[in-house]
């Protein structure tokens, strides 16, 4: 917060909205009956979901043998999907927590949807380790509870147990964070809706919120605390995911850079997914004045930054493999680049390292279609990154006699499609029942940058505001 806003700042929300305009604009899609586009999207996504359900049912009833795993490659497609979805689930908390702490005000237009996306992505991710257990009804065994087997506790020295705690905590805290953020907006909807059912629904969830400033003060404190907690949490989650691999001794898995590298990759892929969804949403639901080109540009810049970190990590791994003089390390990377799965490696490099470089150009950053295509490319690239790390490293490790190849079966592919179906179905339902944009938060930044944007321009160059107001001038 500043009493004065620099002339370099521009308004976050366009169209000179009033407070009630914001309420109406965001609530409008909830009042309208869903259009043809929505039904079509819903039909497609729910079919994908049913396909996935069928595949998972078949797999659970038949066994893990329905997957393409073999003695050498015990982790492949499903763990790739798991890491992919968890990565997607990082942008929401990043936008709501880290950007909040860094006072990036533009986050207010996208944080709600990004947080929803986080929760749905974590749900999708959680499915994979559970179905990989083969007997998912025994999944509760990973939880330490007193039992009659000793009690035999879980092994707290195992990264897989850490993972369970990390994902569980992350899901819970993200959900709570999201819900706390929703309360004031739900109260707004409760107070404006005419429908009785909706009033009951929003009334139940808004917990009797009345906008009292005493409550707002505590609310702000809680929000700050949750942001402070969620920031290290989001970092810890992907760190622990990376430890699933890095605590081993497999070349290509065991390397100390994994924690920050995975976190950067997660944020990178998460932002790509936020861009994909937000670009669709702003077009379909006409939120162009809320999710402006400025927002898309800012997210594009974060993509450059995190993409740069990912590229740096690739480079570091390559360089150190060579520097180490360790022949297994060296081979792991030669195998990635020129082995039987070289195509996957080069898809990864072109999507994650090369394509984001286009975003350095303002022309590209402000071209919505191009940004959309780039975000799709990054989604693909980041999926392949996990595939490259997980599968390729396993196919050829220390003992050439045990080398093998891996190819996914149709069941595995159908499961991946099903997870996308689940994700999209949940997201589509979300757009129908909850406000997609944080109404209260957007109102808080509504007037931001408006006055300064009308600052004087002289001969095509700005004159500094500070300069003008100094009595007698500076020079």
């Amino acid at each position: 917060m500043s009493d004065h806003t620099s002339i370099l700042r521009s308004p976050l929300i366009l169209g000179n909205k009033s407070y009630s305009d914001v309420t109406e604009d965001v609530a409008l899609p909830l009042d309208r009956s869903p259009g043809k586009e929505w039904w079509m999207a819903f039909a497609v996504s729910s079919s994908m979901l049913f396909l996935g359900l069928a595949a998972v049912t078949y797999q659970v009833m038949t066994g893990i043998g329905t997957w393409g795993l073999n003695n050498t490659v015990g982790w492949a497609f499903d763990i790739t999907n798991f890491v992919f979805w968890i990565g997607i689930g990082h942008a929401g908390t990043l936008i709501s927590a880290i950007l909040f702490l860094f006072r990036q005000k533009w986050r207010t237009s996208v944080n709600r949807s990004a947080e929803a996306m986080t929760i749905f992505a974590v749900i999708c991710a959680g499915i994979f380790p559970i179905i990989h257990m083969g007997r998912p009804w025994l999944a509760f065994w990973v939880v330490p509870y007193p039992n009659l087997r000793g009690p035999l506790w879980v092994n707290f020295r195992s990264p897989l147990v850490w993972d369970m705690f990390a994902i569980g905590t992350y899901f819970t805290i993200s959900l709570v964070f999201w819900f706390v953020g929703l309360i004031p907006d739900l109260a707004t909807l409760r107070d404006r809706t005419a429908s009785n059912i909706k009033k009951k629904f929003y009334g139940l969830l808004s917990l009797g919120w009345d906008g009292s400033n005493r409550t707002w003060l505590r609310y702000e404190t809680v929000y700050l605390l949750l942001a402070g907690l969620a920031t290290p949490l989001v970092v810890s989650v992907h760190t622990i995911v990376s430890w699933d691999f890095a605590t081993s001794v497999i070349p290509g898995w065991h390397t100390t850079i994994f924690p920050p590298y995975f976190v950067a990759g997660a944020v990178f892929s998460g932002f790509a997914m936020v861009l994909t969804l937000m670009i669709i949403a702003r077009t379909v639901l006409h939120f162009e004045e809320y999710i402006t080109l400025h927002h898309i540009e800012s997210m594009g810049k974060i993509i450059i930054a995190t993409g740069g970190m990912v590229a740096l990590a690739y480079l570091t791994e390559l360089f150190v493999a060579m520097y180490s003089g360790n022949e297994y390390e060296r081979f792991a990377f030669i195998n990635r680049m020129f082995g039987p799965y070289a195509w996957a490696y080069w898809i990864m490099v072109s999507c994650n390292v090369l394509s984001p470089q286009l975003l350095w150009l303002k022309k590209v950053r402000t071209n919505v279609t191009l940004v959309f295509l780039l975000s799709l490319a990054i989604n693909v690239g980041m999926w392949f990154e996990r595939f490259v790390i997980i599968t390729i490293s396993l196919t050829r490790d220390y003992l050439p006699a045990s080398w093998d190849v891996y190819a996914p079966t149709l069941i595995e592919i159908a499961t991946l499609i099903g997870s996308f179906g689940l994700f999209l179905t949940l997201f589509l339902l979300f757009t129908r029942i909850l406000p997609m944009i944080a109404i209260g938060e957007v109102k808080g930044v509504l007037s931001y940058g408006r006055a300064s944007h009308e600052a004087p321009k002289a001969e095509g160059r700005y004159v500094s505001a500070a300069h003008e107001r100094v009595p007698g001038g500076v020079r």
Binding site: H254, S324, R461, R475
Partner: protein
Amino acid sequence: MAETTYRIQAPASLPVTTEFSPRALRMFLLLVLAGSAFVVSGLALDSPRIWPNLLLAGFYVVGIGLAAGFLVAVSYISNAGWLTAIRRVPEAMASNVYVGGLWMIMLLAGVHSLYEWSHTETVAADALLQKKEFWLNVPFFSVRTIAYAVLWSLFTYLLVHTSRLQDETGEVTLTLRNRAIAAVFTVVFTLTFWIASMDWIMSLEPHWYSTIFGIYNFSGTFTSGVAAVTVAVIALRRRGYLKEFVRDDHLHDLGKLLFAFSTFWMYIWFSQYLLIWYANIPEETAYFLKRETAGWGTFTILVLLFNWVIPFIALMPRSAKRSEGVLLRVSIVVLVGHWIDLFWMILPTFMPGSPSFSIWELGPIVLAAGLVCLVTVRSLTRARLIPVNDPMLLESLTYHS
């Protein structure tokens, strides 16, 4: 409030060169001279001891400069308005890149005293070092060292120069230009710094490698840079220089940065430790084993205490981040901690077993401290203490943290 701000903001008539008492400058110069004499006699009397300490101090100085420059660059890229009022301090501190870079280049004279791989007879007897010869050889190493120093100095100069130019012309386009320079600098810096830290420090133990090493050094260096900027800001404020501009809100943000990056350092430290401890591969574990046994084990605890435990606990309350006294003390703890951290990285190679301290540790410290103070203060006198024409200035002067 606005009125008073503006009046002080126009120090146009103030001759910039007399802003600091010549006494302070003389004292810093004296420190530098004393330190140099110390170092020279150390080289004559106990050179195996002084070289690693010179490496430590040189890396410290260039790191302070780079961290300050990086802070300025990031504030440009991310539109962080709050820093504007105090930006001249990190800008001045960035000048340490020039002397630090020069220091690292001069250190090439001691390459044989420092690096095992620089001796051809050692390499001839070591199969692994032969595999690394493509990278670890004296000519290429020297070229790289010079290249780092030149690149970093170039970008530091461009950033600071453009910012100061704005004082004269008041053109907002200079902010935009600096934003572009900052973006390129960030890329160059991240691409070179991690290799530089591997070259200068990791290759002291040439059999060992860790991919996170560059990030680890970045985290420590940046934290110490923020601490140095904080100390300088508080020192200036106490002497009345920045008093009207730096409010508790600025300190609060510096405190938050310090808190966050100290924690980031801990995260990276632990990531490296846990993975090496867990996988327990002999050639990796050797590094930590050396630092866990005998006296070095106690020293490792000091590293963690100074770099994270103390700053973390001390800076947790909001009031602490806004308090000049607490922030100053914590910053000094972090600065000492960074020295301990570098000592912990560099010295075990030269004194396996237990750490011991001698009078020769002091020489490079005195020299480095004197240089950093002298360079920073002299650089501060070369420009206005406040970027008077920066479009973000007013925002920075009035914001609430």
